[in-house]
């Protein structure tokens, strides 16, 4: 092999190394660009006044996003209360009964559920809970409500919690369960006192990720929680949330409302970033060394 050929080959190799380096760096750009833009536009809008006041009517300056902040927290908490017990129990079932027929169908359905577009989940919640229906003795009055929004979000949380619980518990050694059973523990105690506590970091990380996932969901809330310009804590009534506020105010022609939308975007972004980092920390910290 002559020297010229070697040089060409080394050059190609060097070029390729640079190419993957540059492309890897390119992955950072979108997130950094979003962060930069949102922080630049939003940081000046955020102050104490912004966090504790509700939006002012058009024409008055100032106002804040307290109603959306409180609304988001309530809607997410209620969704979590619905989804976490169901999701963890289903995950326990899947890891305990790996080959049963029901497990096969549950697994299939959660996989499909994970891919269902959020707007479709929203429309189902709308038809079930928002529209009035009458089944003879049972009459449902309907109407937009935070609860129907929470219901839609709970459906979106479910598959993430179910699968992360299952995956976590499947990795635990059988010897752990046998140790508990050999001490004469009934099944429910084996699950709640041994299996779930040992797998808690994985289960929690699934829960946190599912919360992070639904925090920014707008579509299912459009026709369920609906939004509300005032502060409301009644889950039976329409309620504002951060993504709804951004959706409604960002497209308005008023500068004050645009400012609110930018500020809310930054808050939302920080919330999701915080959840992701927090998840990483607790997964590491609460991990039970086997």
């Amino acid at each position: 092999m002559d020297g010229k050929n070697i040089k060409l080959r080394l050059g190609k190799s060097y070029g390729f190394q640079w190419l993957i380096y540059v492309l890897a760096f390119a992955c950072l750009v979108p997130l950094l660009a979003i962060l930069f833009y949102i922080v630049k536009a939003g940081i000046t809008k955020i102050n104490w006044h912004f966090l504790v006041n509700v939006p002012k009517p058009v024409g008055e300056s100032g106002g804040g996003i307290a109603n959306a902040l409180v609304g988001s927290i309530i809607i997410i908490l209620v969704a979590a209360v619905i989804a976490i017990p169901i999701g963890i129990m289903a995950g326990v079932y899947l890891s305990e009964n790996r080959r049963s027929r029901l497990a096969y169908w549950v697994r299939l359905c959660t996989d499909i559920l994970q891919g269902v577009p959020s707007i479709v989940v929203g429309i189902v919640a709308y038809f079930w809970l928002v529209r009035p229906w009458d089944l003879g003795p049972i009459h449902h009055k309907g109407g937009f409500s935070a609860l129907s929004g929470s219901f839609a979000l709970a459906i979106m949380m479910l598959p993430i919690i179910v699968r992360s619980t299952e995956e976590t518990l499947k990795l635990l050694p059988d010897s752990l369960k046998e140790a508990a059973l050999a001490l004469g523990m009934p099944f429910h105690r084996v699950i709640f006192k041994v299996i779930v506590p040992v797998g808690i970091s994985g289960i929690l990380s699934g829960v946190m990720l599912s919360v992070a996932r639904i925090t920014g969901e707008t579509a299912p809330l459009l026709f369920t929680a609906f939004g509300n310009p005032y502060l409301s804590v009644n889950i039976g009534k329409p309620m504002q949330s951060l993504p709804l506020l951004i959706f409604n105010y960002a497209t308005s022609p008023y500068q004050d409302w645009l400012n609110l939308a930018w500020g809310a975007s930054l808050i939302l972004l920080c919330w999701v970033l915080f959840l992701n980092i927090f998840t990483k920390v607790i997964t590491r910290k609460w991990k039970v060394q086997l």
């Binding site: 080959r99 050694p173 010897s175 752990l176 046998e178 140790a179 508990a180 059973l181 050999a182 001490l183 004469g184 523990m185 009934p186 105690r189 006192k193 041994v194 506590p197 040992v198 039970v288 060394q289 086997l290």
Partner: protein, 252 residues
């Protein structure tokens, strides 16, 4: 006349269509150490797991025949009560990794929801750890996690956890096969101490261990109980040709 604590008659166990324990008849006397030995795949561990009904937890596992604990049929009792009376120590040490050493010992009470006054709990923990010769080593680190201990200490912790429940019988499934020689001899010494209060059934694939620690030995081969006799007789004057071949090392 010594009293029989475990009695099997025509006992069979299978995994699906694989018949692994065939027609076993055995009487195990109280406060003795019984070694169960045999080559790999001879059904000795499966038999052991049938005694406290751990076998049936494996999907597809079935069993039939008579298995009696003090003349009470184990398969008529609730498995939870069976396992409280017949404790088990596994091949690999398996302390609860989320619990402290103290809580691991008291786990059988704590995790079963049995509430005890603190003084009584302290007493059980100290007594159990003393019985397994672990008390002196861990008494200053009772709040550390069980997984902080060495392998041999972990295994003794698992024995303490079983002893704390005051069972009548303790089953050992190759309890030293994951341990180093020094830990092994510590655990073997323990067996003699434990014999005064409990009946021990020890599955081992190590013939020397069976000869060292047991009063009686059962030899399993291809799912059958070939020979069951005083350990001394078994190793000096076996009746069956297959036992003879096994202990002289013609197969293993």
């Amino acid at each position: 006349m010594e009293s029989t604590i475990i009695k099997s008659r025509n006992f069979n166990a299978s995994f699906g269509t694989n018949h692994v324990v065939k027609n076993v008849n055995i009487d195990i006397p109280r406060n003795h150490i019984i070694a169960v030995m045999g080559p790999s795949g001879c059904g000795k561990t499966t038999y052991l797991r049938c005694v406290n009904r751990m076998h049936e937890l494996i999907p597809g596992a079935t069993s039939n025949g008579e298995m009696k604990l003090n003349d009470e049929d184990v398969y008529q009792m609730h498995p939870i009560f069976v396992r409280l009376k017949i404790g088990m120590v596994f091949q690999r040490p398996n302390p609860f990794p989320n619990l402290s050493i103290y809580d691991n010992v008291i786990a059988g009470y704590k995790l079963n929801g049995i509430k005890l006054p603190k003084a009584e709990r302290d007493e059980i923990v100290e007594r159990s750890l003393t019985k397994v010769a672990l008390w002196k080593e861990v008494k200053d680190s009772l709040n550390k996690k069980g997984s902080f201990l060495s392998g041999g200490q972990q295994q003794r912790l698992c024995i303490a956890r079983t002893v704390a429940m005051e069972p009548e019988v303790i089953l050992f499934d190759e309890p030293t096969s994951a341990l180093d020689p020094i830990s092994t001899s510590t655990v073997e010494e323990l067996f003699h101490e434990l014999k005064t209060n409990y009946t021990l059934i020890i599955v081992t694939h190590n013939m020397q261990q069976a000869a060292r620690v047991s009063d009686k030995t059962a030899f399993f081969f291809l799912g059958e109980l070939v020979e069951y006799d005083e350990t001394k007789t078994m190793f000096t004057n076996p009746k069956d040709q297959r036992t003879q071949n096994y202990i002289t090392g013609r197969f293993s």
